[in-house]
């Protein structure tokens, strides 16, 4: 109800404003600034959220026309690289934390430190929010929303089996074994072994005591990493609590597997909440949990989608657009459509977030969650070394030892 009311009222305001602008063109005095915005939104809910924010922005800034352009994730780095080389960059680009180092190194980003320090809403954001977009004291973006890692689980299945929601990796494995029933086509855990799975693989290694980055130190603790890979791949190879399609399962497959009742637990972030709620009843059929703790650490990422100025032209208009994402109105509208957590404190304190028990695990995670590691070459190493090496372990083509050795070799190549 709440949602509908909001949406309708926003539509009304938007429509009214549009009519007003049409009747009295003098309102849009001065010249109109055109900016284009590159983003990697994929799902329907994300698009709905983006449209909502754009509508609100249009009402607030009739003199700025935003053209959004969707760049699919797999093509993103290729496109932005080409755009930088050919100097045909977009005005504003959505930058995820793991791409920051590469984009900065190739000179795609603009220093926004001054603009931020003179912004009146800067105090809404904890300093830590800027950690993974800061280099040498210079800040290159403003968080638009957060990726708060958490997990979804089938509440009904857990109740049926009489088991409690897991808080550690060991409990999670036991629960997965308990609810797996191949005859019903049920698997305990939807492991993302395909595109995008690399981040979770890295998280598991870190949870077992092998963080890839510690301060300036980059490297893996071979033994701990092997333990992690053995446990994670073992969910498929030993325990068989994972669908056999795991080595090729990406975002869509993992979400669909959970939506269609194939898997009982999945790891993701809050951004998929509305997508899952569209198929399963929240609080009844599925629930949310904070990420379980590994033997050495409890790793849940707090990452942010930053908006960054990537072109000098119309930089003031770009800044207006970037700032707008930090306004509570925009942030809540976006959360409403998607489930992505706002990055600003004032928005997180909104009762619709604070009073919703399903969002509680996310709020907990905000306390212990940690940022993504960040160094040049990380994204490439994760995607083209860690993921295939782990896949080889998943399909039994390599032992965890071999997979980790491959990762170590690749890491040396990437940073060497």
């Amino acid at each position: 109800m709440n949602k509908n009311f909001n949406r309708r009222s926003v539509l009304k305001i938007g429509a009214g404003l549009m009519a007003a602008t049409a009747l009295t063109p003098s309102l849009a005095f001065g010249q109109t600034a055109n900016i284009n915005y590159w983003h990697t939104f994929t799902s329907q809910s994300e698009f709905a959220g983006l449209e909502e924010v754009m509508k609100l922005f249009k009402a607030a800034h009739p003199d700025i026309v935003v053209t959004q352009e969707n760049i699919p994730n797999p093509d993103f780095m290729a496109k932005i690289t080409a755009a930088v080389l050919a100097d045909s960059r977009p005005n504003v680009t959505m930058v995820s934390s793991e791409r920051f180092a590469d984009l900065l190194a190739m000179g795609a980003l603009t220093d926004m430190t001054e603009r931020l320090s003179s912004w009146d809403k800067r105090s809404d954001f904890d300093d830590s929010r800027f950690d993974s977009i800061t280099k040498d004291g210079k800040i290159y973006g403003l968080p638009a929303f957060s990726f708060v890692d958490w997990m979804y689980y089938r509440k009904d299945w857990f109740e049926e089996a009489g088991i409690a929601p897991p808080t550690t990796y060991a409990e999670m494995r036991d629960a997965a074994i308990a609810i797996t029933d191949p005859s019903k086509g049920r698997y305990g855990f939807g492991l993302r072994g395909g595109p995008g799975g690399q981040n979770y693989i890295n998280n598991v290694m870190e949870a077992f005591g092998s963080p890839v980055q510690q301060g300036d130190q980059i490297g893996l603790d071979r033994d701990k990493a092997i333990e992690g890979i053995a446990w994670f791949s073992g969910l498929l190879t030993q325990d068989k609590v994972v669908p056999p399609s795991a080595p090729n399962d990406g975002f869509r497959q993992v979400i669909e597997g959970f939506q269609t009742g194939q898997t009982g637990m999945i790891w993701h972030h809050t951004g998929s909440f509305q997508d899952i709620a569209s198929k399963l009843e929240p609080g009844v059929e599925f629930g949310t949990l904070a990420m379980p703790a590994g033997p050495a650490a409890r790793v849940a990422r707090l990452a942010y989608a930053y908006n960054s100025i990537t072109k000098d032209e119309n930089a003031d208009a770009s800044w207006e657009w970037i700032k707008f994402w930090g306004e509570p109105d925009a942030a809540i509208a976006f959360l409403d459509k998607t489930g992505y957590f706002p990055a600003s404190n004032s928005a997180s304190a909104d009762p619709r977030i604070a009073d919703n028990p399903l969002y509680k695990p996310a709020a907990e995670t905000l306390v212990f969650g940690r940022p993504q590691p960040s160094f040049p070459g990380l994204a490439g190493w994760l995607e083209s070394v860690v993921l295939p090496a782990f896949q080889r372990a998943l399909i039994g083509e390599a032992t965890p030892e071999q997979a980790v050795d491959e990762m170590i070799d690749g890491l040396n190549q990437a940073i060497g």
Partner: protein, 320 residues
């Protein structure tokens, strides 16, 4: 050049001042010389230099330099054969090379066979073949990206129609994750590729078949050649040039385009569908190592040139 009335007139009376400075006259005189030909070729030569030769050479020189976009600290110095040396000991390169060979060979063979069968069927001009032709050619009009996503869905282990069909027919015990199993991932990707591109062969072979006189088949009927012999001894030899051109074009296309595999498997699981084009793409756009990616592209370029040369030799296309 033979003399025309104007030139006779021009030479038979003294040149006026205007004649001497008239640019049209100079151009006219130039057009009679043998340099004219080269002058006319100049614009297109410049265009080819700019559009084809320069980027190719640029790619070549890239392969001899350090060029890592995310590592400005390494500079962009010449590194001679460093990238090529690395290739020799790069496991992934050799796996990709082997996979590329499998991928290209199998896909071309299937695409050619299916394309030929479709072309032969369409060439019979039976009622309804015109409509059928449109349907058969349809896959080719789909962009690779669309075809890839479509098949990824159809082969999906949860929602895929194909699994459903195979289980219902009884060929499969349960749903299979085609792209998650290294023993089926490459085969499934090849089938998707073949489905998408066989119309390329159909189209070219059909055009070739239209050029085979129907009298030849009548003569062969009377001579007692059955349909297999007719295909082997008349149709295929008559299509030799078309086949050679089509195969070379297709091989180039298959070697160079990573998009379908990028969508279906991203080279996985493990590295079981990693091919050179995908590896070069990832090296450039995920690792930002343009030097090594350049070296990989140069190797692909050399392999393709060698293939085209050997293939044309073997198929004796130039003989006729």
């Amino acid at each position: 050049m033979t003399s025309n009335p104007q030139s006779i007139m021009a030479s038979s009376r003294p040149l006026s001042t205007w004649d001497r400075i008239n640019p049209a006259r100079y151009i006219g005189e130039l057009s009679e010389t043998r340099f004219w030909m080269y002058l006319l070729l100049l614009p297109s030569a410049l265009l080819i230099m700019g559009v084809v030769i320069y980027p190719t050479l640029y790619g070549f020189q890239l392969s001899f330099r350090e060029m890592r976009l995310n590592r400005p600290d390494l500079g962009t110095d010449w590194v001679l054969l460093k990238h090529y040396q690395r290739m020799l000991s790069d496991q992934i390169f050799w796996i990709s090379l082997r996979n590329t060979a499998v991928w290209v060979t199998a896909a071309v063979i299937i695409e050619f066979s299916v394309g030929l069968i479709a072309a032969l069927a369409l060439n019979r001009n039976l009622p309804g073949t015109k409509v059928l032709a449109v349907f058969i050619l349809l896959p080719f009009f789909l962009p690779n990206v669309v075809a890839g996503h479509m098949w990824a869905l159809m082969l999906d282990p949860r929602l895929g129609v194909i699994n459903d069909l195979l289980v219902k027919v009884g060929l499969l015990g349960g749903y299979k994750a085609w792209f998650a199993d290294p023993s089926t991932a490459m085969a499934a990707a090849i089938i998707v590729e073949a489905w998408h591109s066989f119309p390329f062969f159909t189209l070219l072979l059909l055009a070739g078949l239209k050029g085979v006189p129907s009298d030849l088949y009548k003569a062969a009927d009377i001579d007692g050649a059955g349909s297999i012999s007719q295909l082997r001894l008349i149709t295929l030899p008559m299509l030799k040039t078309v086949i050679a051109a089509a195969v070379i074009l297709r091989v180039i296309g298959l070697v160079n385009s990573p998009d379908l595999l990028l969508i279906l498997t991203s080279g996985g699981p493990g590295r079981s569908t990693q091919v050179l084009s995908l590896y070069a793409f990832q090296t450039a756009y995920k690792d930002f190592n343009f030097g090594y990616a350049g070296a990989l592209s140069v190797i692909m370029f050399i392999f393709l040139m060698m293939f085209a040369w050997v293939y044309v030799r073997l198929s004796k296309v130039n003989q006729d």
